[in-house]
Symmetry: C2
């Protein structure tokens, strides 16, 4: 009988159909626990998210990624076991539990760092995994599945250049993340390719508060930038707000570019120009790859859609005159 459910040959088509019908009639499904015990596979994938609650609830990546993963899992009978942890020790322990308790067959690794101890650790634990992140996060022979963030940032810089900007700054994410580094480097390289001088850069932490602070820091400089490229939308929107508080107009005095295209991006004033990734598709691809991995199959090569650059109202031609830097008074 178990042959039927595991699609192993050797069962007559007739008997097979009869068994499946009976199972359907009784609304019977094999018990996941028993199946897991005897087959030594949990039929579940693990995802441990290490983020402070504020960032977890802000970052559009996680819900979308999870939704994508789910869309690939539901059809093939895998479950997703999620863990949200708040520190390195807790994350470490979570992987240990996953492996020792055999709760999951494989895990997703996000927020890649360089160097990142986790791949080696998971290998030691015997837990298959996929690296979720930019190509640049490749480590120890593993190649990540990810979109080309860099292309989006480069597009943004070229767009600003075309609008006449030459003093283009960057507000980055936490330096330990590879994706922060990739975005920053793409910005720097495109600037160089365009023959522009390297603008100032401030690394922040993806929160609104940090985005506002970084923006003030940039605008306090003797020669402030006329455009800022942020590593995520939340910082960009907070930065836009900070600039307006200083009496600057967006985009007349300062152009702003975000990254993510959160659902709110079209609805801030002015609407945010930003970079959009198809995170759902990304999650789906990662899930398919991980399933193939844990089942010992060769994963299909993944081809992810390119990032899109979405031009809205927060970027515009550089104004002729240097913007007024008087603090505190709103432009009427």
């Amino acid at each position: 009988m178990s042959f039927v459910f595991n699609n192993r040959g050797g069962v007559g088509e007739l008997a097979k159909a009869r068994i499946l019908r009976a199972a359907a009639d009784l609304d019977w499904r094999p018990d996941a626990r028993a199946r897991a015990l005897s087959s030594r596979r949990a039929q579940a994938l693990g995802f441990v998210v290490r983020r402070e609650p504020e960032l977890f609830s802000t970052d559009p990546f996680f819900p979308q990624f999870i939704a994508g993963v789910e869309s690939a899992l539901s059809g093939v009978g895998y479950a997703l076991v999620l863990h949200v942890v708040d520190g390195e020790r807790a994350e470490h322990k979570a992987y240990g539990n996953f492996a020792n308790e055999s709760r999951v067959d494989g895990v997703f690794l996000t927020d890649l760092q360089l160097p990142d101890g986790r791949p080696a650790e998971l290998e030691r634990l015997g837990l298959p995994f996929v690296l979720v992140g930019p190509e640049a996060a490749a480590e120890g022979g593993y190649s990540p599945i990810g979109l080309d963030d860099a292309a989006g940032v480069r597009r943004a810089v070229r767009h600003l250049r075309a609008l006449g900007h030459s003093r283009i700054a960057h507000v980055g994410g936490p330096e330990r993340y590879v994706h922060s580094q990739v975005r920053r480097q793409a910005w720097a390289e495109e600037l160089a390719d365009l023959g522009l001088e390297q603008g100032p850069v401030v690394m922040a932490d993806f929160t609104g508060a940090a985005g506002a602070r970084a923006t003030h820091e940039l605008l306090d400089r003797a020669i402030p930038p006329t455009a800022i490229v942020y590593a995520n939308d939340l910082m960009a929107i907070a930065g836009m707000s900070a600039a307006m508080d200083r009496g600057l107009r967006v985009p007349e005095d300062l152009s702003i570019v975000g990254f993510d295209d959160i659902p709110l991006a079209p609805y801030v004033v002015p609407p945010l120009t930003t970079v959009r990734q198809d995170v759902i598709e990304w999650g789906r691809a990662c899930a398919r790859t991980l399933i193939a991995l844990v089942e010992g199959r060769e994963p299909d090569p993944v081809q992810l859609p390119a990032v899109e650059f979405v031009v809205r109202g927060s970027t515009g031609r550089v104004s002729g005159s240097s913007p007024s830097l008087a603090g505190g008074d709103h432009v009427p």
Copy 2:
């Protein structure tokens, strides 16, 4: 030996300590699958989220709730199994799988409706659950765990009244959700209590697009409102943007109140006045209650913090004159 891990008496303290030490030394943990099979408990809780991807990634509720749940689970060895589904059939199937495969010991039920078939269904499946939502969603003898949304909305209406507003409209969430109904009713009742006439109401679907549309609809009326209370921040911010597009100033011509206090709320222009709930604590309380339930213990009574009303810049005194309704031209 299993007595040690299950804290059953009858084992010498000495032997117990020795066993635990040995286990720690070997980094050994009982296999979750085997344990689940023999004890007939999965040591896992299930959460099925039925939302379209856009809303799932926008709604600050889910990540925060999950983070709260996790904080209660990690210490006691339970795992969280998450399912994101896109329709009623899929949700139904998800519960069936949870129960028949014995993947989880209990589930969280959110986005309560009235009537809601799920409690009866889960009872039939023999799956314990907690209702996550407002008191008003009580059904069939089950009382939900939730915060008093209504108090926040009433506070908002009183605040607007104190600022001189008398034409206060409401943009609600999908009518099928009890929490949408609760917020709408609180708005209506407070209006009545204050002796104000019932303002216009438009029910939307929590998305930015719907919030903008509803706002236009409200402002198109012969006598437009001077203030709008929204059922969530995303619609409020989109509404604010829509109003500004029509040349209205916020808060001079129109006051706006949201609901959720998303991380972006302080960073839009003007900063959003809104209602904040402690969703993390809420999730924790639900998890603790559900664990007690599945373990056959009497759950501790839960005492959730009250909702907070956060006044920022999007609400202000009602202006003497009726706002200009000329469409399309920005106020300079």
